[in-house]
Amino acid sequence: MKRGWREALPYYPLLPVGALIAIVWANTAGESYFRVAQALAFPVNDIGVAFGLASLAQEVLEAIGPGRALHTWRSALLPIAIAVGGTLGAAASYAAYLHFTDEQILADGWRIACGVDVFFCVALARVVFSRSPAISVVVLFAVLSDVLALLLISQRPFAAGGDAGAVALIFLAVAASTLLRQFDVRSMWPYLIFAGPLAWIGCYRSGFHPALALLPIVPFFPRGARTPDDLRGLLHRHARVAHFETVFAYPLQAVAFLFGLTNAGVLLQGVDTGTWAVLAASLVGRPVGILLAAAAFPKRSFRWAELIVIAFIGSVGLVFALFLSTSVFPDGPLLTETKLGAIATVVGGAIAVGAARVLRVGRFA
């Protein structure tokens, strides 16, 4: 068990450190914290996170290519079904919660409840399931849920008036990447230097979240195969020296720290309807959606007890939900409320471990 927790050390260990500092700072010297956080918001959330999402996309592409860990579509069908079910369940329960309260001003926030913290969930899955195939299911489910969430927030609701013509720059970036790939360019730097800024400016000016900017060009980056053990064991060991996730390993730790520092600082007295709506969607709606989708799935290779634990593991939105909340609401009370909900979804992790104990799942069998 101890080994399980040790293996599950956070993928970005500095993120919770930054988050903890932010929460203490915001609640003791709020004005100075928010001044710093607001100054950091643009470089961290709009530029730094673009590299974080690119790294995540790189990991996924390496895992789903031909002959790779998650390539077999038969094994991918269940994660796809529960990702869709979980997203629908979260969205529906968020809307239902708002229906019974009377704060329709929070309606846009349903997207926040669709996010799953991939790294936290995978770490938790490894704690519970050790090296079971359930971990691969959790990885793919979490990634697919986040892809859905990114699609849902791709156009920022509060970035109205974007220049639609600027989308052409994104296509130009893809064309440049295609050309580089045609010339068999093996270094990722030309992709980042030439195509990256084009895509970023295109996103920024057209109203798409700039953190998504590198996603269209990541498929062209050089990459290597990912074995099932890379996912079930240490998620990061396969990396080659020239790969994006290796080169940016340390800068991304800094981004993770700053992300926690910039986004997790919320006034604890800000708990309000948005907090409960996100929590209800994550802790109730998503697990129910996951289980209903699994029930509708004809061939299941997992017991119901295992699926229940997977469903609660998938209820943790945490970092990704924080990111989504900054994309849905600008600074202010609605953002504070929903951020608190995002942070509180960590409770889902404790419920998952508790359920695993009670239902004798994985290590607890």
Partner: protein, 285 residues
Amino acid sequence: MIRRVVLAAGIAVALLRTPSVAQERSLLPNRPGSLKFAAIGDNGTGDQPQYDVAAQMERWHQQFAFDMVIMLGDNLYGSQQPADFVRKFERPYKVLLDSGVKFYASLGNHDNRSNDAYPLFNMHGERYYSYARNGVRFIVLDSNVLDSPQLEWLETTLRNANEPWKIAYFHHPLYSDGGRHGSEVELRVKLEPLFLKYGVNAVYSGHDHIYERLVPQKGIAYFVAGASGELRQGDLKRSTTTAAGFDQDRSFMLNEIAGDDLFFQVISRTGATVDVGVIHRKSTT
């Protein structure tokens, strides 16, 4: 004999609890030509206390003829169908509306976004807007969603405002000692520098269901008036920033701007004056 004493005491208490307008009207100067307005917040419950406050507003309006009311958000709670606009707004304030008083609303967290199109709120489809009256520039913000376009608009509006008085109002308070919500520090960091830079004199908000007047912060007067329908009794947690407050019953504000002075008087649901004072504007010349 005992019955008479009890009756007399009861009448005395009743008189104290509901002072006549005549007793209190001298507290505002009520000068001809001055700008007179009322302020209400968190009012739209449609319940009896809202109607009681509205009745007090009618009563005071007879002696202090304010011609506009600023609404600090949560103008309607719960369902917001056409019938609700009648029950929670048009009916309680019917006498005021019929006598030509105009209501200028800001949006609270319980208001639907589409309410900015409701004609009697005079928002003209804008969730943030500005208007000028008698040398006073009113800036109405949507503090639910304080995005970049709104901040840019605010700076432009303040920069171009030539009126001697500048008053901002919106739902979430930048300073509040309300126990339930308190100060919105995140908003303060964005708004206060602009208010200071362009000389905003007073800021009115609601959200906390109490009345509070704060000690002026960096030269700006702040009021929380969020108890014109809802009430969170005993929620005021007095601190060094509290200048005055009232959290035992519903209330609304009367205001008058005459020259360089802003007079205010806060009236409870039962008609008692719970705060009164004047803010003097520093001349910039």
